[in-house]
């Protein structure tokens, strides 16, 4: 039996700090995901490989339902499709009881194909076309109005409908968080939202069922949600009083953070991000205190995306090469880059080796495989002495990466789902050149 090998290396001793693991502990390896060995996953499905945990998807969903449901009588989650619209993911959440929150005609069709009834689809977004609105009306989805042009377009569409389309109004407001989002929806403070609500009700052609507000993304202050909830509730009560219209639901949107650490943050997110319970407490506390009569509390809708799916996704990759840069820094080239790990633009992802190493670590730049200067995953990270062929696991990559990934220079890899009994299912096959080219057409004069 030969000794385990680790490449020889020396480092200059400086006055600076030790590596983040402390002097006596290396990085803890991740040798298995949900009971399946990383080695085995790579042998069967190749590298890079996205791995989804069904157990974690369900656990996160149930935790969110519990956080809000134990504090408020009527709660409904609507799965934010854009965060990850792989059907296996969507269907897991729908099985758990989630509605669908979609932001394009394509996502609307996807939700319908996943068996979501039209009235359980909330149609958001600033870019709805006439055909999208017609389709949404036909399937009785709820249209969340974003702007006045859209409102008038929908009034036009509604004129030829047998029943009034169901709508909600997206409202933007100052919840005290920064940056204040004001590009989506109608502004509350300048009276625009009230004007739109009055017009919706006065038209007699639309049925106002909800109010919606989504204050931002990765919002770290639960108190901002309390402010938004209180203002939305006040607006609903005003609708009841002045417009004689009962708002059935208040949609507080999403934007809840996951425990991924934002670039530039001083402390890791696992220590600083408020728990979902704190957000639930802020939102439900504000609604319960808003002055609704007993029995008339509106349904609370939440469009959580990242908080439900981020933890459930992992990305396995392989070291293609290590090299030294001109200034002596170590660089490690991986077989995935920003093409697959889009979120590395804003997160310092937690990355583990997939096997045991000694406690020696070294700082390295992490590059992807793209022949593009922007393809850098991390400017500096302390990792064990990796060599070509070693595997790494990137944690908490479930949100956005599998929808914002790019088919650029490389094709997209396999995605597998590990079910609750640790069976592995391929849920999206690796792309092929044939798949890439099947929509292309070569003009006749270029064919010979």
């Amino acid at each position: 039996m030969k000794l385990p090998y680790e490449r020889p290396t020396i480092r200059k001793l400086t006055a600076g700090a030790l590596n983040k693991f402390g002097p006596r502990a290396g990085a803890t390896p991740t040798t298995a995901l949900d009971g399946v060995r990383v080695e085995e996953l790579v042998a069967r499905f190749g590298s890079p490989l996205f791995v989804l945990s069904e157990r974690q998807l369900r656990r996160s969903y149930q935790a969110a339902v519990r956080a809000f449901g134990t504090r408020y009588p009527q709660v409904q989650l609507a799965w934010s499709y854009k965060t990850n619209y792989l059907n296996a993911v969507c269907r897991t959440f729908h099985q758990e009881g989630a509605w669908a929150e979609v932001v394009s005609g394509m996502e609307l069709e996807k939700a319908l194909l996943n068996g979501v009834p039209g009235p359980h689809i909330l149609f958001n977004g600033p870019g709805k076309r006439r055909a999208d609105l017609e389709r949404a009306c036909a399937v009785a989805a709820v249209i969340h109005l974003d702007n006045a042009d859209e409102l008038h377009l929908l009034l036009d569409v509604a004129a030829s409908r047998p029943a009034p389309p169901r709508v909600a109004l997206r409202v933007n407001l100052d919840a005290g968080s920064y940056p204040q989002w004001d590009r989506f929806g109608f502004n509350l403070e300048n009276g625009e939202a009230w004007q739109a609500l009055s017009r919706v009700v006065a038209s007699g052609r639309l049925e106002l069922v909800g109010l919606h507000c989504h204050i931002g993304t990765y919002v770290l202050q639960p108190s901002a949600y309390a402010t938004a909830a209180a203002q939305l509730a006040a607006l609903a009560l005003r609708c009841q009083r002045k417009l004689k219209t009962t708002v059935q639901y208040l949609d507080l949107g999403g934007g809840f953070p996951s425990t991924n650490t934002l670039k530039g943050a001083y402390l890791p997110a696992t220590d600083t991000v408020p728990s979902l319970d704190e957000y639930a407490e802020a939102i439900t506390g504000a609604l319960l205190a808003a002055g609704f009569r007993t029995g008339e509390l509106p349904l609370l809708v939440l469009e959580a995306g990242r908080a439900l799916v981020d933890d459930a996704g992992s990305l396995i990759g392989t070291v293609l090469a290590t090299k030294r840069l001109a200034d002596g820094r170590r660089a490690t080239i991986l077989d995935f880059g920003v093409n697959l790990l889009f979120t590395s633009f804003w997160y310092d992802h937690h990355i583990s080796p997939a096997r045991q190493f000694s406690d020696q670590t070294e700082p390295t730049v992490l590059y992807g495989p793209l022949c593009m200067n922007i393809d850098m995953l991390r400017e500096s990270i302390a990792l064990p002495l990796l060599s070509a062929g070693d595997q790494v696991v990137v944690h908490k990559v479930g949100a956005y990466n599998m929808s914002q990934w790019q088919q650029f220079i490389n094709l997209r890899p396999n995605v597998v789902l590990i079910d609750q009994t640790s069976q592995v299912h391929l849920v999206r096959a690796a792309e092929t050149l044939e798949y890439l080219q099947q929509l292309e057409q070569v003009p006749v004069h270029l064919q010979s």
């Binding site: 090998y5 490449r7 020889p8 020396i10 200059k12």
Partner: protein, 99 residues
């Protein structure tokens, strides 16, 4: 074009140190893997394999013998070791520790 031609004609650099792992004589190494350069005041720490290699070179063992011994004792492919050997040389050169 002419520049390129001339560059090609340049003779190899006379004192390329890339291929010999010989520490400067004044460099102090310790059993714990510490390296001290008295001329610059810099200190370095070697991991166990690098410390082992440096200790052997100090006793005069040649590269081929050290490599053969590593290949025999450790779970590593010859190509990987060659690459890492070059890398260690480059680090030593970078830190100005080579003769």
């Amino acid at each position: 074009m002419t520049t390129f031609y001339r560059l090609n004609l340049l003779p190899p650099h006379p004192s390329l140190p890339f291929f010999r792992m010989k520490l400067k004589p004044n460099i102090a190494t310790s059993d714990a893997g510490f390296i001290f350069n008295p001329a610059t005041g810099d200190s370095f720490a070697a991991n166990p394999l690098a410390a082992d290699i440096l200790a052997r070179t100090k006793t005069g063992q040649d590269a081929a013998a050290i490599k053969a011994d590593i290949l025999e004792r450790y779970d590593v492919a010859p190509g990987q070791l060659e690459k890492d050997w070059d890398d260690l040389l480059a680090q030593l050169r970078d830190f100005n520790l080579l003769d």
